[in-house]
Symmetry: D2
Subunit: 135 residues, 4 copies
């Protein structure tokens, strides 16, 4: 079975939107991902803060990388996010996953997103379906 890094290399190199976001991979292993990105002006919304879709997208990429890097192709079933603090252009965001549970076909992850001052800006929870198809 392929290693975590090899799988995420393959995922990331095709992931145009994660590249547009400027996502950098800080660390990865089976079931784990830590990502970073810097918020740009074009990612903000009508309130002058980052659109909720930006932190969601970062967390969703972390979920995809963490869950797929076990070696089986995994698809998101249900995700939820709370935006706990405003994010501004120039903020540096770090997303870190925690695998809360894994069974044969399902796994649950929490993703915490923090800013450069180590304040939690978003809390994300995602459930994935683990297919039988290997990477």
């Amino acid at each position: 079975m392929k290693q975590a890094r090899e799988i995420v290399d393959q995922m990331y190199s095709n992931d145009a939107f994660s590249i547009w976001l400027g996502i950098e991979r800080l660390e990865e292993r089976a079931g784990y991902s830590r990502l970073q990105m810097t918020v740009r002006e074009e990612m903000t919304n009508g309130f002058g803060i980052a659109h909720g879709g930006i932190t969601y997208s970062l967390a969703d990429s972390a979920l995809a990388f963490a869950s797929n890097s076990h070696g089986l192709q995994s698809m998101s079933i249900e995700t939820a996010i709370s935006h706990t603090r405003p994010v501004k252009a120039g903020d540096i965001l770090t997303a870190e996953t925690e695998e809360l549970n894994q069974s044969k076909r399902l796994a649950i992850y929490e993703v915490r997103i923090t800013n450069q001052d180590n304040e939690v800006v978003a809390l994300f929870k995602g459930t994935v379906f683990r297919t039988e198809k290997p990477w």
Copy 2:
């Protein structure tokens, strides 16, 4: 109090990310929003389909427009999305809100996203906090 259209005009004109997404406003009134966008290659992920963050972002914009257009500034508290069907580059997505409940300080919305074949591709639910600050 300002009208729905005036409020969303003001929100949208500053919403750089919704503009990047190519979101068009089809219809709006107090507590309601219907939006449309076309998925581009740069919005796809490592599986060759739209990144989950794209449909989330569209739904989150619809939530913001619908909830704020009652006239009080409203902030997202908690949102959840299920991606029910793959979305491809070229797909035309329509997001439509339904206000499920509204109390003095809270409101709950469902957003359904459908593609050009009228298939549901994502189901979103969002809860907002209604501040006392008017638009």
Copy 3:
């Protein structure tokens, strides 16, 4: 394959907790359930209103009956509930399901719970995993 009524008969007759709750089945067919119950004093909490677990339990039974009555054994993966209005002892609650989406292995349901004045007291969303095991 067994019919909806036969499946729910079998589920309900073994469901000690639904019986304790006093749940009555008003209507059922494949993918649909409508249930009713009356809130008793012993179901209230420290605020003098029904414990959040009571409306959750009613909704969760409706989810189980609706999803299993397609004929395949189905297990809850993820559920969420918002309690939108206080419920008091003596209130008569009706839960009605809506199947929002169904694919081969997954299905998503919404359950609305209303009181005797037809006010929404809880909004529930549940995702189930559809096993290959028939009833």
Copy 4:
């Protein structure tokens, strides 16, 4: 302002349903609660395992005790639960809260429920609205 123990004493002594469940308070302080209960036959469902409403109810009580024990009356806005492992009659369940975030008017808690073998049987997340009304 009242202390955590005094507040939860007052909540619990009126909480008929938590008493019916047999919930014992193991530990509590401002923003934290640890509870225990033993599953009885009358709490099981049609699959021979505990009804999903039982673990939800335990987690919801933990959420109420943890969030209210800061001294302000707090109401659940949105809760979600994943049932990760079957629970049987006789199982001893422990629920432990973690306060993930707190702002002036909102707070988010995670509740993990484990069985007597220290296996996670349910993962719960709850958001509460913190009123200005003290206990």
